[in-house]
């Protein structure tokens, strides 16, 4: 299978708006600053995830269409060198150079300088974004290493530690990374390389679907949009998401019931709660305060319960008047639509992508309120220095700036490249994989 951006036959969003404008030049400036100067000291806590930051920076400039015009071929070669420098001799990539000990590397210390699954996904994706093939990637070692990270229950760890132990929590994100690395590298002449256990991986994802319809980090945990993106992304890359006119290549597809519940859960993430009421200070909202807008209802305590004994003393009379009748929202307040990651949580820029990207995999981006989300991003979290913050009034950071940008790309913002929602790279970067199938052989597995 392959992944696709929303088909052009779907209705185009109405992008007219009085105040919202996408400051492309400022975003380019923001990202070039991230690429060409040192990141502020505050990023020290992301040191071990530098490969992730590197991918976001390169991919954002690619989506803005300037990666190959605002950098020189020599610079791009050096970026490729840095990525390959992080490659581990036994397969996979490290998240940064900070654990490398040079000539002192030896068997007894290799557990402290291990490859990391997330870093490996981001490294391969970054190479594709740079227009580089996968020639520099030790494909056989990498695929074998990924297979070694799979646990008996189908999930994946993030690295190999002491004594060959699989390290890392059970985490849907690692499942996505494994499926994505497999999709990117398992091409061409790979018959001799053993595959991961796809069936068990699918089963693990299925058991992590919650009663709400979304997907959690692991079975029985709470559904979350980032983890739902990871789970559906993995299923999509494994060819398990039904697509119009595309029969399944191998085995059974996810059920219509799963897709329906998932869709309901995804669209439910759209919210008018744009600011954390618990934070109290509502500074950025104040200037837009509107007399007709109802305050968010305060939490209501309900009486002590005696579930174990069976009784439940809630006087219906009181209960029925426990909440103000403020269901209908004024048209004014419907103008900005944020997206949250879980039920009853406040909106956050990054979830606009985790939700919109997942709907994109299902070919259902058009079920969202395009105008409302676009205005939320452009008028509430876009920053005047370029980039996006997490919430209104926040300073931009790399993750939220990237996710805000690619959300607009999934909604076909003019001047942005269209992106592949499943791989989270531009469609043109994805084509680098399809072009470079080794030995000129037909792309067989996917």
């Amino acid at each position: 299978m392959s992944t696709h951006a929303a088909s052009p036959s779907q209705p185009a969003p109405n992008l007219r708006s009085d105040r919202s404008s996408f400051n492309k030049e400022r975003h380019i400036k923001y990202w070039l600053r991230c690429l060409k100067t040192h990141l502020p000291t505050a990023y020290t806590s992301n040191d071990a995830q530098r490969m992730t930051l590197a991918f976001f920076i390169l991919s954002a400039l690619d989506v803005l269409g300037v990666l190959h015009t605002k950098t020189t071929p020599a610079e791009r070669n050096e970026y490729v060198d840095w990525i390959l420098r992080c490659q581990h001799p036994n397969g996979g990539f490290r998240g940064f150079t900070g654990t490398m000990v040079g000539e002192d590397a030896a068997l007894e210390n290799c557990a402290w300088d291990s490859a990391n699954l997330a870093a490996t996904y981001f490294a391969c994706a970054a190479l594709a974004v740079l227009g580089e093939g996968m020639e520099g990637v030790r494909k056989t070692e990498c695929l074998n290493w990924v297979r070694g990270l799979q646990r008996r229950n189908g999930s994946f760890g993030e690295g190999i530690g002491k004594g060959g132990r699989v390290e890392g929590g059970e985490d849907m994100r690692f499942c996505y990374c494994a499926a994505a690395v497999r999709w990117m590298l398992r091409r061409g002449d790979v018959e001799s390389i053993a595959d991961i256990d796809v069936e068990r991986l699918v089963e693990y994802i299925e058991t992590s679907v919650t009663y709400e319809g979304g997907i959690a980090q692991a079975p029985f945990h709470e559904a979350n949009a980032g983890l739902t993106y990871s789970g559906v992304g993995a299923l999509s890359l494994l060819g398990k998401i039904p697509r119009k006119g595309r029969p399944s290549s191998d085995g059974k597809m996810m059920s219509p019931e799963f897709i329906n519940d998932l869709t309901r859960w995804l669209v439910s993430r759209q919210t008018l709660m744009l600011q954390d009421i618990e934070d109290g200070l509502d500074v950025a909202e104040d200037e837009f305060a509107h007399p007709g807008s109802a305050p968010a209802p305060a939490p209501i305590a309900f009486p002590p319960t005696f579930h174990v004994l069976g009784g439940f003393p809630v006087p219906a009379e009181i209960a029925l008047h426990g909440e103000p009748l403020a269901l209908e929202v004024s048209p004014y307040d419907q103008q900005w639509v944020g997206v949250n990651g879980r039920c009853n949580k406040v909106a956050d820029t990054c979830y606009s992508f985790w939700v919109g990207g997942t709907l994109g995999m299902l070919n259902q981006v058009y079920l969202q309120d395009f105008n409302g989300i676009r205005r939320y991003l452009l008028e509430k979290t876009q920053h005047m220095i370029g980039g996006f913050g997490k919430m209104p009034g926040d300073l931009p950071d790399i993750l939220h700036s990237h996710h805000g940008l690619v959300t607009l790309a999934t909604m076909r913002e003019p001047d942005l490249k269209s992106i592949d929602p499943t791989l989270c790279i531009s469609v043109s970067a994805r084509e680098n994989f399809e072009k470079q199938t080794a030995g000129g052989k037909v792309n067989r597995t996917l």
Binding site: C34, L39, T41, T44, S45, D47, A48, R50, L53, A54, E78, W82, T97, T99, M100, V101, G102, A106, E108, N109, A111, W112, D113, N116, N153, K162, E167, G169, T210, E212, Q217, P219, F220, H221, E222, D261, V267, S268, Q270, P299, F302, T305, H307, V308, F312, V314, A316, A319, L320, G322, E323, Q334, V337, R342, C343, N344, Q364, L367, Q368, G372
Partner: protein, 319 residues
């Protein structure tokens, strides 16, 4: 000039500086001198796999500056276990780090590693988690850890009253609702296999429990009808029961009567009823509920409600 290079305790160590390669490394960070130095010493001791008290101190130092450095946590756990350190003390130290870096997830994984080597539940553990929830009652990492803890020490019976106390203070706490689901249904599953999917009808659960959950959830909805968490929970429970939604029709209709469209008190009730009527093949009623959602009671999801209407063969609702 630095904490380590000036220290007699570290004079036998030759630090290994970071080698980022050429002139244009990606995502280079403006490190502080303290961090660069500590990391250089860390590389040097990792290279010889040193396990000692001074290295424990060094890992603490680095974790304070960069709690997301995943191998430093693995290294630290390895040293603690090898030197047979007091693990309760480690948990106490972790408490301070967890409070300070409450969004970090490596801390919780490390806590799990340490706790898996602790034979009994330390008395302070539950009160520490309560402190974390007082800070943020929806912290995903803390809830994930708590699920693990409940299984590890078989805390099933004391957990339900706790969840209820949280729901009492905030009936919209979806994490608490999800934890309730876990408490009710996960004790019958084997975490190594967990082959039972959440949506499957579950024959292992006693029927009385399902009824109890339905009553509890209905009471929570009566308190705050416009709260999606219990509505979702209710749908899940009914599915576990292996029955349709129709049995809850009159319950839902008290919040949304299609005859009195000005008095709708819950958009989630309308959504629920749209499915009930579709189940009954009352497509006109179902379409009407969806129309009310698109036009009046949940217009930010208009495209979705219209899509649902189109599945029933109805036209779209305009702006």
């Amino acid at each position: 000039m630095g904490k380590y290079s000036d220290s007699a305790e570290w004079e036998d160590i030759v630090p290994i500086s970071q080698d980022d390669g050429g002139p244009n490394p990606l995502a280079a960070i403006a490190y502080t001198e303290d961090y660069s130095e500590a990391m250089s010493y860390l590389r040097a001791v990792m290279a010889v796999d040193e396990k000692s008290d001074r290295v424990l101190g060094l890992t603490e130092d680095i974790i304070q500056m960069n709690p997301a450095h995943y191998t430093v946590w693995l290294y630290r756990a390895d040293i603690l276990l090898e030197l047979q350190k007091n693990l309760v003390q480690e948990l106490e130290w972790l408490n301070t780090i967890a409070i300070k870096h409450h969004k970090n997830f490596q801390i919780w994984h490390h806590r799990q590693v340490i706790m898996s080597h602790t034979p009994t539940l330390p008395s302070s553990e539950i009160s520490f988690l309560a402190r974390m929830f007082a800070k943020d009652a929806k912290n995903y990492h803390v809830w994930s850890y708590r699920q693990w803890l409940v299984r590890r020490f078989s805390l099933w019976d004391s957990e339900l009253p706790y969840v209820e106390s949280l729901l009492q203070s905030d009936v919209r706490n979806n994490s608490a609702w999800n934890h309730r689901w876990f408490i009710v249904f996960a004790r019958y599953t084997d975490p190594e296999k967990h082959s039972i999917k959440n949506n499957d009808a579950d024959s292992q659960v006693e029927p009385g429990i399902i009824e109890r959950e339905i009553e509890y959830t209905k009471a929570a909805i009566l308190m705050a009808p416009q709260n999606q968490s219990p509505w979702n929970y209710l749908r899940g429970i009914v599915r576990k029961q292996g029955k349709g939604l129709v049995g809850l029709k009159s319950f839902a209709e008290q919040f949304a009567n299609l005859e009195k469209e000005d008095e709708v008190r819950s958009s989630h009730a309308l959504d629920f009823l749209a499915d009930v009527y579709a189940e009954e093949e009352e497509n006109e009623l179902s379409g009407k509920a969806l129309e009310l959602l698109a036009r009046r009671y949940d217009p930010i999801r208009k495209n979705y409600w219209n899509y649902r209407r189109s599945m029933l063969g109805f036209e779209q609702v305009g702006a």
